[in-house]
């Protein structure tokens, strides 16, 4: 709005940061994710217990009661160490699956949205077809065929996570393509690649980022489901999902076995959602001073 003030304007990056910092929930999300990530990847080095160390004498130790801060499980393994190691797996799967899903989704969506016509229609009908399968069944069906493991689970989750991004990007690019600034780039002699990547996609960043953060949350949840059902990450490697699976039979006798990974999943998923919200507002330069 302001046009008259000749004061030196802060750089674009600083202003994005400034807007982000005003968003309390997003700050909470960002701090939680940062803490969680740091704890999961560095924490295990600092702990006195290994996540796979079995101590039969210490089975079902309750949290906050002794050497094991968060108690132990049915084999006497330290719960804190297992939560952190499980977090590593969950976050890793979440981030990598999101990144792959995004890359595929943006590519498919941008191509379909920019060129439209037969190519666009064909691509988007394919997306619709894949979307028809409930992700969890698709995942379980695939998981039954493939040897379960970190890589295969990540790829499988990514394979179910690109369609919504493709749809969002397709819609955005299709409407942005008609805008005058895209025409302006074309008059200047820009290539399709330049127009898509430099002019159009940055304008679709807000919904893409939101979709990305939601997709991390979704990937973490999916990994948990699949592992909970026993087709995902296989013990003894812990993940939040297979820890929950493990905890079912002790639900009444040792409820912390379920509650702790449950809290971890909830915390991670809601934090990513808040983060997405905040980023959407922060990345929009029009939010300044409104």
């Amino acid at each position: 709005m302001s046009a008259a003030a000749p004061a030196a304007a802060p750089t674009a990056g600083l202003r994005v940061l400034e807007r982000f910092r005003r968003h309390r929930l997003a700050m909470f999300g960002a701090v939680t994710i940062a803490t969680l990530t740091l704890a999961c990847f560095l924490g295990p080095f600092l702990l006195p217990f290994d996540d796979t160390y079995i101590d039969i004498m210490q089975r079902f130790a309750a949290p906050f009661g002794g050497a094991h801060i968060l108690g132990t499980d049915e084999l006497g393994r330290d719960m804190l160490a297992r939560i952190l190691m499980g977090g590593r797996v969950s976050l890793l799967v979440g981030f990598v699956a999101m990144a792959i899903g995004m890359a595929v989704g943006i590519l498919v969506g941008a191509v379909a949205g920019y060129y439209g016509g037969l190519v666009g229609t064909a691509l988007m009908r394919f997306v619709d077809a894949v979307l028809c399968f409930p992700a969890i069944f698709l995942l379980l069906a695939l998981a039954a065929l493939v040897e379960p493991g970190l890589t295969s689970i990540t790829l499988l989750i990514a394979a179910t996570a690109w369609m919504d991004v493709a749809r969002i990007v397709e819609g955005q690019i299709r409407s942005l393509r008609e805008r005058d600034f895209a025409v302006a780039a074309e008059v200047l002699g820009a290539t399709d690649r330049y127009i898509i990547l430099r002019e159009l996609v940055p304008n679709a960043v807000a919904p893409i980022v939101v979709a990305a953060t939601l997709n991390v949350a979704r990937a973490i949840l999916l990994e948990s489901y699949v592992s909970f059902l026993g087709y995902g990450i296989q013990p003894p490697v812990p993940s939040w999902g297979n820890m929950l699976n493990n905890a079912q039979i002790y639900l009444t006798s040792a409820p912390w076995l379920a509650i702790l990974p449950g809290i971890a999943i909830t915390l991670a998923v809601t934090s990513f959602n808040f983060l997405g919200d905040g980023l959407r507002d922060a990345l929009d330069p029009r939010m300044d001073g409104r």
């Binding site: 709005m1 302001s2 046009a3 008259a4 003030a5 001073g289 409104r290």
Partner: protein, 336 residues
């Protein structure tokens, strides 16, 4: 001699609270319109002309973010003066579309896209005039014919998107006229139209006014349109009235430097093709309502401003002859 005003506005102010600060969108606007008279409100973006019109209709979003003060007197159908700003909302609903009606710039956004136009007008008529369905339909046909829509009976079932821009604006005018309002507020009704269609609509409004004797508040930025349609003119800048006069004296001898600049910056048709030097443009930008200049709002763009005088305090809107008002401390020196 002259009839009493049907619309009397006194000291109308509208303030908006935004995240960037408070905006005085309209400050201390007063005017009166008599039956059969057309008042043109001239201004650019941010001048407050459209906010004024919405305030008259009480169509500004209610809530703590908007403060409206002042008095808006409107003569109701029974001859009583109504205080529009304090009227309870149910009563106001009865007044809106009945004693005072409005035509907008873009008819497409004010018409319901999924309803035939005939039905939309009939609804308004039945609401305000209590006619039955058949009588209302006949009335719609009469109105569509009145506003110059060919084959009006066939048009009843048309949807807004079937109609051209000019036709849609005619439908809007028919709807506004359905209850024979005493005051019609037309907010840039021809801005989105082509010149030949604009000529049609202006012609139509003029004829309708002659027939019905309604008062028209015509909001526009086009000085050519003002010269065609107005009896009186009110020039607004930065939310304030800066000049008010009858149309002929205003064009013959504008007093406020802003009005002078506006009139001069429009290319003249009689000089077409001569390119007699650059246009005498007003320098600078339309002011940002969040950062209105001190003193006279126009002074940073005014070639005649005097430091320490024009930027010191807001000039009064003072009388400059019969039925003339001007807001400029230097108008006496500047006008020969």
């Amino acid at each position: 001699m002259t009839a009493a005003p049907v619309l009397q506005v006194e000291d109308l102010s509208v303030r908006f609270r935004t995240r960037g600060g408070e905006i005085a969108a309209v400050s201390g606007v007063s005017f009166a319109v008599r039956p059969g008279e057309t008042l043109a409100v001239v201004g650019e973006s941010g001048s407050g002309k459209s906010v004024t019109s919405l305030a008259l209709m009480r169509l500004l979003p209610p809530g703590a973010a908007v403060t409206v003060t002042g008095r808006v007197g409107l003569r109701g159908k029974d001859g009583r003066m109504l205080d529009v700003l304090t009227l309870p909302e149910p009563e106001m609903r009865g007044v809106r579309g009945d004693a005072i009606a409005m035509v907008f710039q873009e008819p497409m956004t004010s018409l319901n896209p999924v309803k035939p136009v005939g039905e939309q007008i009939a609804e308004a008529i039945r609401l305000h005039r209590g006619l039955d369905r058949r009588a209302a339909t006949e009335e719609v046909v009469r109105l569509l014919d009145l506003v110059g829509i060919p084959a009006p009976r066939q048009r009843l079932a048309s949807y807004p998107h079937h109609l051209s821009g000019g036709m849609r604006q005619r439908v809007m005018i028919a709807m506004a006229l359905s209850c024979e309002p005493a005051v019609l507020i037309a907010d840039e009704p021809t801005t989105a139209l082509d010149v030949t269609i604009q000529a049609q609509i202006l012609d139509l409004l003029r004829r309708l006014q002659e027939r019905t004797g309604m008062a028209v508040v015509f909001i526009t930025h086009n000085l050519g349109v003002v010269a065609e349609i107005a009896d009186r003119v009110m020039v607004m800048y930065g939310g304030r009235v800066v000049e008010q006069a009858d149309v002929r004296p205003l064009f013959a001898r504008p007093l406020m430097p802003y009005t002078v600049g506006l009139l001069r910056s429009v290319p003249r048709l009689d000089l077409a093709g001569r390119r007699a030097g650059p246009l005498p443009a007003i320098p600078g930008n339309v002011p940002d309502p969040l950062h209105m200049p001190e003193g006279c709002g126009f002074h940073p763009r005014c070639g005649d401003h005097v430091a320490g005088l024009c930027d010191a305090r807001l000039p009064e809107l003072e009388s400059a002859g019969e039925a003339r008002l001007v807001r400029c401390v230097r108008w006496r020196e500047l006008t020969p």
